[in-house]
């Protein structure tokens, strides 16, 4: 059973478009209705077969989906980085860097350390609270400053230089162990991106320049 199409390729009886069916855009009930229609309509069936053939030849190659999923199943789950435990040596390095940062803040006084200071000024606090807030703020700003310097170099410096910089600055360790509360969204993003690069460097994973570019996009 079929009605002669008024326009070539447009079946007036089809409940949905063949293209949407093949694109997987139909709800299950719509898909069922469309499949039932296909069983009775030569025009739509032919359109479906032609469309599928072109997609097969011109679109993604057959088997790509399964190949990707086979690779994905071999990967650790992507949330593992967030729960990764830090090596004790890194904790020592982190503590050392934090101590240096704290000393620097105390020496400078109010923590105005030349950081970019994108964040809004904190509300006025008194006594110890203000001091604690100032130290935390300076530490965070120092972290962001280091992160931005690192990211600025990441696009062009040799990998060996970057790795050594990351190690010497203790930045990766600081990133792992630092509470980012109080940082603005852009600064958090900068630090998080450095953490991702640091993670890759420490694991000796190859990091393509394209990946660095992606991680540093919009932060320079």
């Amino acid at each position: 059973m079929m009605t002669e199409p008024r326009e070539p390729g447009v079946c007036p009886d089809a409940p949905h478009d063949v293209e949407d069916l093949l694109d997987g855009l139909l709800d299950p009930s719509d898909e069922t209705a469309m499949l039932a229609h296909l069983a009775t309509c030569d025009v739509c069936r032919e359109a479906r077969d032609d469309e599928a053939r072109l997609r097969d030849l011109l679109g993604a190659p057959a088997g790509l989906l399964d190949e990707v999923m086979d690779l994905v199943r071999q990967e650790p789950w992507p949330g593992h980085v967030r729960t990764r435990r830090m090596h004790p040596v890194r904790w020592v390095a982190a503590a050392a860097v934090l101590m240096v940062a704290t000393l620097a803040v105390l020496l400078v006084g109010d923590g105005r350390d030349g950081g970019k200071g994108n964040d809004p000024a904190p509300p006025a606090l008194a006594g110890e609270d203000r001091e604690a807030r100032s130290v935390a703020s300076a530490r965070a700003r120092d972290l962001v400053r280091r992160a931005r310097i690192f990211l600025a170099a990441a696009g062009h410096a040799p990998r060996s230089t970057l790795r050594s910089e990351l190690e010497m600055s203790g930045l990766a360790a600081v990133v792992d162990g630092t509470d980012l509360e109080g940082l603005g969204a852009a600064d958090r993003d900068a630090v998080r991106r450095v953490a991702l690069l640091g993670e890759a460097f420490r694991n000796d994973a190859p990091v393509a320049r394209a990946e660095i570019a992606m991680l540093t996009e919009g932060l320079r």
């Binding site: 478009d17 694109d23 993604a60 057959a62 990967e75 992507p78 998080r192 394209a210 570019a213």
Partner: protein, 177 residues
């Protein structure tokens, strides 16, 4: 986009199978993108795998307020351009962390026949008038759906369907002639 966010959440919660619908939805576009940039079907297949694998590895850095495709498009474009640069410098492929093509090897005879047919079809597409070629590229190389094509071209859906129908027939004839 809501379904994409849910799939991403499920992946991050430890269910890798939730990544499948994302690959299924965007494999055509990703493959088309990297093929256009590299000009190589073989490179494109490998790069498309790598794009999805990298996206999976970095899934916890994906900003879920943005469309998933925008994100993997950036990864794909960067990887493809990087491949081109390496090729220009004569460097080997930088995929040391890439475990190679997964899955069973395809039947070589079948694969060769399919490749040959695909190549003839691509040549036929290249000979189409520019406005027709643009529609074929949008639909089959970029993987746009009809709604996206409506938006891109400004043409009504019915017009697009009729043109695609005629193009499919035309290309089919060119293939068999």
């Amino acid at each position: 986009m809501e379904d994409e966010r849910q799939w991403v959440e499920s992946c991050l919660a430890g269910d890798p199978e939730s990544f499948r619908p994302l690959v299924e939805r965007y494999q055509g576009r990703v493959f088309g993108l990297v093929r256009r940039i590299t000009g190589s079907v073989e490179d494109a297949r490998e790069l498309a795998q790598e794009v999805f694998l990298r996206a999976y590895r970095k899934l916890d850095s994906y900003d879920r307020s943005r469309p998933f495709f925008t994100w993997i498009q950036t990864i794909g474009a960067n990887l493809a351009r990087d491949r081109l640069r390496r090729r220009a410098r004569g460097e080997p492929r930088a995929v040391a962390d890439f475990p190679g093509r997964a899955g069973g090897a395809p039947d070589p005879v079948e694969e060769a026949a399919r490749s040959e047919e695909a190549e003839r079809l691509r040549r036929a597409v290249a000979e189409l008038p520019p406005e027709h070629r643009a529609l074929v590229e949008m639909r089959y190389f970029e993987g746009l759906d009809l709604s996206e094509m409506e938006e891109r071209t400004g043409l009504p859906r019915t017009t697009l369907k009729v043109r695609l129908f005629r193009l499919r027939k035309d290309l089919g004839k060119r293939l068999t002639s």
